[in-house]
Amino acid sequence: MNKYPLWKYLIVLIVVALGALYAIPNLFGEDPAIQISATRATKVDAGTLARVEQILGQAKLEFTGTVLDETGAKVRFADTETQIRARDLVQQELGDGYTVALNLLPATPGLLRAIGAEPMYLGLDLRGGVHFLMQVDSRAVLRKASESTADDLRRMFRESRIRYAAVNRLESGAVEAVFREAAERERARELVRKDLRDVEVAESERGSEYVLIARLSETALAEKRRFALEQNMTALRNRVNELGVAEPVIQQQGADRIVVQLPGVQDTAKAKEILGRTATLEIMLVDEEAMSSGASTVPPGSKLYRMRDGRPIVLKNRVIYSGDNIVDSAPGFDSQTSRPIVSITLDARGASINQRVTGENVGRRMAVVYIEIKSEPRLDEQGRPVLDEEGRPVRVSRRVEEVITAPVIRQQLGKRFQIEGLDSTQEANELSLLLRAGALAAPVEIIEERTVGPSLGQENIDQGVKATLLGFATVVIFMVIYYKVFGLIADLALLVNLVLLVAVLSMFQATLTLPGIAGILLTLGMAVDANVLINERIREELRNGNTPQASIHAGYEKAFSAILDGNVTTLIAAMMLFNFGTGPIKGFAVTLSIGILTTMFTAVMCARAMTNLTFGGRKLKTVPV
């Protein structure tokens, strides 16, 4: 009696060993590091990393390791002094296309990193940083959509010579077209139904007027909202990049909200300024005469620009239309040549201008210019930041202009057209992103902001760890005193529980927050419940005069249904917390849920394995419980 088959011991052993392996990284500290990520058009690859290593090598700045992953390249250093010098140097050498940020990397030994063992990810309340919750103004999206519908209707009516009295936008976001004659309205209705698939129409009469009400369909509207949100996220990502923040989080929350988390950032004013910044696109014509003459002077009315690769290009000053007129852009392939392309959709105003200008300029080139206002510290000749009389770095605004593409116009273009002559799908993707990336599609408002100072973060960790250890210790001591050997077994199970909990949280890279620590502690307090149930049962069976072995067996068997039912109810509560909670509460719910599962395993299976190993198969006179 009370023997496990070998495979059960093996399972327990393997799980515990794996748990220990994946929990260990949390014991190591963090190394100072720099993180190199790409802005806009550049890419961080092995070549970039080699370049960085070369730069550091020449400056005799020693680094202890490098990583290349999807967030960019990271270089570790032994101390913060080297880290800061390396940051300034690398940023200066690599230039504008890259952002170099100070970062802390887990000092996990390489062997553990190789099997994917990483420490838990610390939430902002434990490491310091800023959390923003932004609300996208969906009324602005609706307004923009109805403006575009109204433009479309006017243009269509004009082109098809339908006589209309007025086209008005309504409060509800719909657009009404007013006609004097029923026949005209009928023609209009047919036209709309044929050409504007996304628009639903209804009719009504008002006195002697015939009214057609056009409304964007719910699906089309939802699509527009989704698009606005995505574009805003891309734009915010670009701006955050400029802040040089290591591992920023930009996530969608719900249908119209965006979470931005900037770990380690303390200067919230600067963060807000940059997040609120605008970037835009302008479309201009290439000054072919100036380009072909090769003259060193730029004629009046034109200006010298640079392409992304640094080649000079002269553009005519007049802006044809701007990024605001671009409604959509998507990468794709040309159906005939199978070459990568980017297809672009303009709004009605952009379309009519495009039509006119491209019609007059077939064979010439049209340039897309990316414009952004950057604020950056002014540097002196040695590349050090200039300080004002109060010792603050002087910041200057700089207008960054860059020609991202200049394709040849092959025919007259309209509302939809495509940009060809791209080298790769990669380039098509990037260009399409850029075309959408500059400006926010709809205004955003910060509706929640939480900043945690770094000292408070550390304080929170220290206090959390102290409370956990203390709570753990008192429970452990109590259990040994109260249940003797069985208390010791319960304690070992509790220790395994803590290790497994940390291991699972680390494996899933769940975010550990302050309430999460409370969740761990609460789990530990409640986890002994299962062993208390078992041990009390064993005592009861002994009192009823059963043999020691039978009592141990019955103790585990009979306690199980209570353990199961009790834990499932708590799990239901934890899942509800997860479903409805936000941020830190979710973290609490996650630790609580995982804790319940590890408790079920350790308190029942691990403890049983230990009990069997200690007492199983022997003749017992008494049970030390």
């Binding site: 913060t80 970062n103 802390l104 309340d125 609300q135 770094p454 302050l514 409370a518």
Partner: protein
């Protein structure tokens, strides 16, 4: 060691009338407290701005108030918090809609009054400032520990979601208990938990501890704990219904409560120990949570003993209700 060396014979069910009377009275008092003083809703619910500051030197609250009034923050409430060096500043939501940028202006104004300005800081280190007259950057005399801004719309959503979470949790558990036990047990369990949750609200109303997002977590956790406690007792009742065939229902329940009593007390005890550790050493942010949990565990233990089972009894539970009818029928059908 053993607290209950012998079998206890406490007549829990016999105490049901006074116990329920006491609980009713406490619940009525809770409602009165909620009506009279209400909950001290925190920033998460009300919206507004909160800034927690740590000074190098003990802070002069009056001076800070003056600086803020001069800086245009007339509605600012300045409080001491923890030690003499720590302050908390609160700003209500303004009618015209308050932007998050306010906090940055507020901190800048306070730094200016100390004659320092913030410069770029490094991750993982204290915020760094330079003196107004120029010089080397050093750790600021005024460190911002925490800034929170919550827009008014967020709070309302949170309250709605919180209420929904409570109701759905109760429903989910109700379904599970009906499935695993019987409907009378489900009602008993929910009655005991509702009792605990209401009293916990009362605790928040009486102590005026800030009711925040974490408080909501505390309430749901207490709900889970109280249920866990109740379910373990019910499990024993279910078992004894099958075992003690000749006993009256009241007797079965009393026996079950007594048999599980030591477990109830010990688990409550270990949970209290950990929450006590959290209360004493977990820091300001979690002390409120820990205190609520301590109260919740005490109330939860009480309600498991005196409310859940008596309610099930009052609903007229009989042994037949607990016997698996199909199996019996099948057994009878066999020759």
């Amino acid at each position: 060691m053993e607290v209950f060396r012998r079998k206890t014979h406490i007549d829990f069910i016999g105490w049901r009338r006074p116990a329920i009377a006491v609980s009713m009275a406490l619940n009525v008092l809770t409602l009165i407290a909620l009506f009279v003083s209400g909950l001290n809703f925190g920033l998460d619910f009300t919206g507004g701005t909160l800034v927690e500051l740590a000074y190098e030197q003990p802070a002069d609250v009056e001076q800070v108030r003056r600086t803020l009034t001069e800086g245009g923050f007339r509605d600012a409430v300045v409080q001491r918090y923890g030690t003499t060096k720590e302050l908390m500043v609160r700003l209500p939501v303004h009618a015209e809609g308050q932007s998050a940028a306010v906090s940055a202006r507020l901190v800048a104004a306070l730094r200016e009054s100390l004659g320092e300005r913030e410069v770029e800081s490094r991750p993982g280190q204290a915020q760094r400032c330079v003196p107004a007259g120029g010089g080397e950057p050093r750790a600021c005399a005024l460190q911002v520990k925490r800034i929170e801004f919550v827009g008014p719309q967020v709070g309302r959503e949170l309250a709605e979601k919180g209420a929904l979470a409570l109701i759905l949790t109760a429903l989910g558990i109700l379904v599970y208990v009906i499935f695993r036990f019987e409907w009378r047990f489900a009602v008993g369990a929910i009655a005991a938990s509702a009792h605990d949750v209401l009293l916990l609200f009362g605790f928040y109303a009486v102590t005026q501890i800030e009711f925040s997002l974490t408080s909501l977590a505390a309430i749901l956790t207490v709900l889970g704990y109280s249920l866990n406690d109740t379910i373990v007792i019910f499990d024993r009742v279910r078992e004894n219904f099958r075992k003690m065939r000749k006993h009256a229902v009241i007797e079965i329940m009393n026996t079950s409560l007594n048999e599980t009593l030591s477990r109830t007390i010990i688990t409550g005890g270990t949970t209290l120990l950990t929450m006590l550790a959290l209360y004493l050493y977990g820091g300001d942010v979690l002390s409120g949570f820990a205190l609520a949990m301590i109260f919740g565990v005490l109330v939860g233990t009480y309600s498991s003993l005196f409310i859940a089972t008596p309610v099930t009894l009052a609903l007229g539970i009989t042994r037949e209700d607990m016997l698996p009818p199909k199996k019996e029928a099948a057994a009878d059908a066999q020759p």
